[in-house]
Symmetry: D2
Subunit: 302 residues, 4 copies
């Protein structure tokens, strides 16, 4: 018997259950990032053992996932377009010497969801509202007047926990369409000997990104079928009181979504509108990861 | 008697004296970032006392310093241009519902030196060469084939040291044209009770940025007169074996530069071509700063 | 006694009076461009006497009017940002030879109202409607689904008529705040010996642009005070059955607008929502002008 | 026996033979556009019979040829990226009313060779020179200091001649790799009853673009195999004294090029460096075409 489809009523029920608007005051714009306390940061810093730095980001360049084949193409996302304003070839040609210095300069044009990124809380709306009940009309063509990613600039530091679900389930990568359950996540933490704590930054590995990188093609990755969080994990997200959550897929949650017609990314509707930071397209290594970086910018979420 | 102007021969002498090409092998692309060891990172993490996170970056938005009046306008630098791909007003208007989710998305077009940034080692050339002797023609319109900032993505973590030179010299902000000396820097470290170590990330406060922010105008800031490092501090940079150096001005070094005709930013010629990471336009608070973040990207320095 | 302010009721009355939705069918997206018939084009071609071509456009470059001081700054308009993808200096440096050809390529990022342009009929809305009664929600972040400028690509050719109002009124340039009247326009046509005809493309010279170019500064031009059409000229626009109308100012109509609070550009509300093509920032020479060019693009008005 | 490959010596010989630097003075930047006289324009205008306007341009949108599969991908060319600065959905949401007018605005980011375009004479270099002998280092990252397309803004009007070579050769579209000969062109003109004249604007139809549009895919079009001018047609280009030449393919000349290693687009090397305007990616209808429009811009060739 196929699993029951997620309905609009399920969404309404989840919204009601996980709604935490007002939890950090009526003016809060950063949601669960509030869970991490200064003490948590001090404790996280004490965990550094190897002093090894690992970037979890894809490079921002023309080899990124945008433009690949997709059943659900994103509106208007392209890979970064990088152009030069001055070059070493200009220098070599002598045309810069009138300025008294030989230097290169460059420029980028990029959708802020083109690669590895954190979603600001102005990214997803539940009906006419975003996090903390702000009116969705606060996000206009002039940018996000509320809940822009720049509001997080003095946050986004804490203990990182890497959950290698694929590995614990005995797979190189989880299958597309596989919905990670609360039990899978708990089992992974247990197998790795990690106890999750309020305010953690959690990275979940499905292996999908490595599969694409190995295949040399992003076809199917952006907006396509993927392993990822089952709708039920909203309970786990709330229970663990995580600060932020990231994965190595396009959108964190399982795809296809198994929803009624007209509903796409139901888990994303709830997590983000109700205050959880979500990160996607994170490149996961298998090493110790104790630090996560966020790239903030003003005016909107990125 | 006015100080003697820096001549091309002075530049040649400094190049010869501070040249450290090959120090980390013929293929190195990150220069002094190599000074920071894993042990240094572990030790730096142990220093975290308050768990307070402080962003040193200006917001990337239209209020940045580009476009202000300048005696030496940069070629082609503008403030970031931020546009939306989907909005909350689209959501409110119902035009997104056919996609099954209400979400906002955005895009940025920005010169990578428009605000707070680290220079990649492909940014400045000494004659036809950049760091480690690479040919400047490695930086073409297609980007930096060598010494792009993406090469630093697993670096840029270490002990941060904040040197408030203005404060130690008894000023709100140093005067434009004031050249910070080696003695000023040593005196500041001493007054603050800090001993500089190999591999540190050093931020020097002149107060100029705060002066501009207070005045509500960037006029004169980008490319204009400024306090900053005197040419002689090349010796201090080499002696301290710092990993990277940042300041709250446009270009770190004192301006005007007091050079012969045809030479601009002589300190920058030497620091960068010979492997020192330089950061500018850093927003300095006066609080404890134990962490510095770099924003890396592929394809070129930023 | 100061002239009476234009009220919301005046706007409602004008809307009722000049409303011509449906005139060319329910599906029309080009409005008064329909006035020009093939016969008009044939006749216009017969008028060519000197074979002299005169561009009426400002160059699209960084010297344009955007960014100048303004009492009413436009949202997000900048001058064009031009960058190179390949250069002659790349060619000179030998880095292109592997492709077998030495060539330059370039790129532009520009707001489509940054310089001389025609407004598509999706540009201005009257309440929730645009030309022909289309819902304003047809212009989303994905572009203009109705009334985009690309709909005009097989139009925009006809007889050009140049009305030098400033000259006929004995001025180098009209004063800012001077409202051109129907009588001024009729007098100018008469003085020039021109009889306006249905389907004409009319360019009105105020001299303001030349004044700015002569002063070497655009301060006050974009969104500032200007000479231009008085609200009463809506009658003249309708009476002449012109195809399209252009001027050498930022927004064609007189500024300040002399309106009740909360109403800006009242003439523009009516002309565009009710089907008249409007062009601004046109560079006017004083020579014979018998041809006007429009720059069309797909996906939206420009 | 396969045709002989075009060698570097052939290129040198052609360069010598067709070189016309200095023909219109040492400061000329527009080349063969000089061939069209005012009298030619007057005569061309007299030819208008039907008053029908036909755009020959592809729309500038995301459905253009860039990004399609190609054996010879262009550096950095993408389809236009169109974003909105203000929208009708903003208007509907009421967020614009504080400005006193409801209006939409937009922005484009586009490589200037992304779609239908004229090449400026700064586009292709022969060794270290461009048209009229200008040093290729005049085209820097700051744009084309010589031979930018903006130099043509008072030109680009004349008699248009449409040569439907495919039709005259009895084909829907010429085969990829078919090199159009001088004889083919002469035969086509003869069959159509047209006598070519000095200063004409000539459009040659191969049918390739229609073939792609019919197939719904641009794969192979940008930089791929194509019908087009054989190298020998340099003689025809010179003999006819045309002002400008356009076709419905990516690069006008036949592909593959049948050249020695290291030489790509040999016909383009000669035509452009020696002053001929070349247009590509023109959409050809089969109707009467008596007018060609050029889109000019400042700062560089487009």
């Amino acid at each position: 018997m196929p699993p029951k489809k997620i309905t609009r009523q399920n969404l309404r029920d989840a919204a009601e259950k996980y709604k935490n608007w007002g939890k950090w005051g009526a003016n809060d714009e950063i949601g669960t990032l509030n869970y991490t306390s200064p003490e948590d940061i001090i404790a996280a810093a004490r965990l550094v053992r190897k002093g090894k730095v690992i970037s979890l980001a894809l490079n921002f360049d023309h080899t990124g996932p945008q433009g690949a084949k997709s059943n659900y193409p994103a509106m208007g996302r392209t890979n970064p377009i990088h152009t030069m304003i001055r070059t070493g070839t200009d220098a070599y040609s002598g045309v810069l010497d009138k300025r008294g210095i030989r230097a290169a300069d460059d420029m980028v044009t990029m959708p802020l969801q083109c690669g590895t990124q954190w979603d600001g809380l102005g990214h997803v709306f539940y009906e006419d509202r975003m996090w903390n009940g702000y009116d969705c009309r606060e996000v206009t063509s002039a940018g996000a007047q509320k809940c822009g990613i720049e509001k997080t600039k003095n946050k986004m530091v804490g203990r990182g926990v890497f959950l290698d679900v694929a590995h614990v389930l005995g797979k190189d990568s989880l299958d597309d369409g596989y919905g990670i359950t609360c039990a899978d996540l708990d089992r992974t933490a247990h197998a790795q000997g990690v106890t999750l704590k309020r305010g953690d930054y959690i990275v979940v590995r499905t292996g999908q990104m490595e599969r694409c990188l190995k295949a040399g093609s992003w076809d199917g990755y952006p907006g396509g079928d993927a392993p990822g969080f089952a709708f039920e994990t909203l309970e786990w997200v709330a229970r663990t009181q995580l600060a932020a959550l990231a994965s190595d897929t396009w959108g964190c949650e399982v795809r296809p979504n198994n929803t009624e017609d007209g509903i796409n990314q139901p888990w994303h509707w709830i997590t983000q509108s109700f205050g959880d930071q979500v990160n996607s397209q994170v490149r996961s290594g298998k090493a110790d990861i104790t630090r996560l970086r966020a790239v903030g910018r003003a005016g909107s979420r990125m």
